[in-house]
């Protein structure tokens, strides 16, 4: 079979678990666990965070300079998920998360100044792995 056409993939034994054979042709990995559940490319425009493109990101909440929440369309199962990301300029550092919630994440880009805790409005990209609710 060369092409499968479908709108939904569902496991037969467990609906939310599909195995995919890995690159070494023997070990399998879990498709659902490996998929990114959220990604966002966000720019600031006049101090306002504006999403350029995204997956599973319903809206943004601007809470002040260098302080923005990304609100999910489909929530996460718990707050124990794994976000990663980067800035899009050289103005901030990468370590930039506040609190994690099932329905949103707080992102805090920090100024790229030595010995500074200052938050800064910076264009950022985030990617989130973990379990959907």
């Amino acid at each position: 079979m060369s092409t499968v056409k479908t709108n939904t993939l569902t496991g037969t034994t467990t609906a939310g678990s599909i195995s995919v054979t890995g690159e070494g042709n023997s070990t399998t990995t879990n498709l659902q666990q490996g998929l990114a559940k959220v990604w966002v490319h966000m720019h600031y425009s006049g101090g306002t965070p504006t999403t350029q493109d995204s997956l599973n990101n319903a809206s943004n909440t601007d809470s002040g300079t260098g302080d923005v929440n990304f609100n999910y369309t489909n929530n996460m199962a718990s707050a124990s998920y794994a976000p990663s990301g980067s800035n899009n300029t050289n103005r901030s550092r990468m370590g930039m998360y506040g609190d994690l919630y099932t329905s949103y994440i707080n992102v805090l880009p920090t100024a790229n100044d030595a010995n500074s805790n200052a938050l800064v409005d910076d264009n950022i990209s985030i990617l989130l792995t973990g379990d959907l609710a």
């Binding site: 092409t3 037969t12 995919v20 890995g22 070494g24 666990q33 794994a82 976000p83 990663s84 370590g95």
Partner: protein, 128 residues
């Protein structure tokens, strides 16, 4: 219709939630593109949730060693990180192995001083 094992090269969907336009993806993007491991953890060694994680150990302040269940094919994999309280998590120098890696937490104030804290990682690359 249920399939126990489905072999195919291309997956096509309607992308109904976004554009309703039929879109195809080569299955190589599926097994190459999915994360092979992720972890949400608190130093020292407390893991909230994870995928493909065998064990962790505390390597000292701001150092956390991660051991995978299924190994990677080579050390040329990609570890991405995040950390709470606007601190910064990084891959520890020289720690990338087929069996895992070490992550280090750095303070927000200077990005130099190691610190414990909630940190997050994901790993992309080829499984062994």
């Amino acid at each position: 219709m249920a399939f126990g094992n489905l072999k195919f090269d291309t997956l096509t969907t309607s992308d109904a939630k976004n554009t309703s336009t039929e879109k195809s993806i080569d299955t190589s993007y599926i097994f190459n593109g999915v994360a092979k491991h992720w972890m949400s953890a608190t130093e020292p060694g407390s893991v909230g949730d994870s995928f493909n994680l065998s064990s962790t150990s505390d390597g000292g302040t701001g150092l956390h060693t991660v051991v995978l269940i299924n190994n990677m094919a080579s050390t040329a994999h990609a570890v991405v990180t995040g950390m709470q309280d606007a601190d910064m998590a990084c891959l520890a120098d020289g720690s990338r192995a087929t069996t895992g890696y070490m992550v280090t937490g750095l303070q927000r104030a200077d990005s130099l001083t190691r610190t414990d804290g909630d940190h997050f990682t994901a790993l992309h690359g080829d499984l062994a």
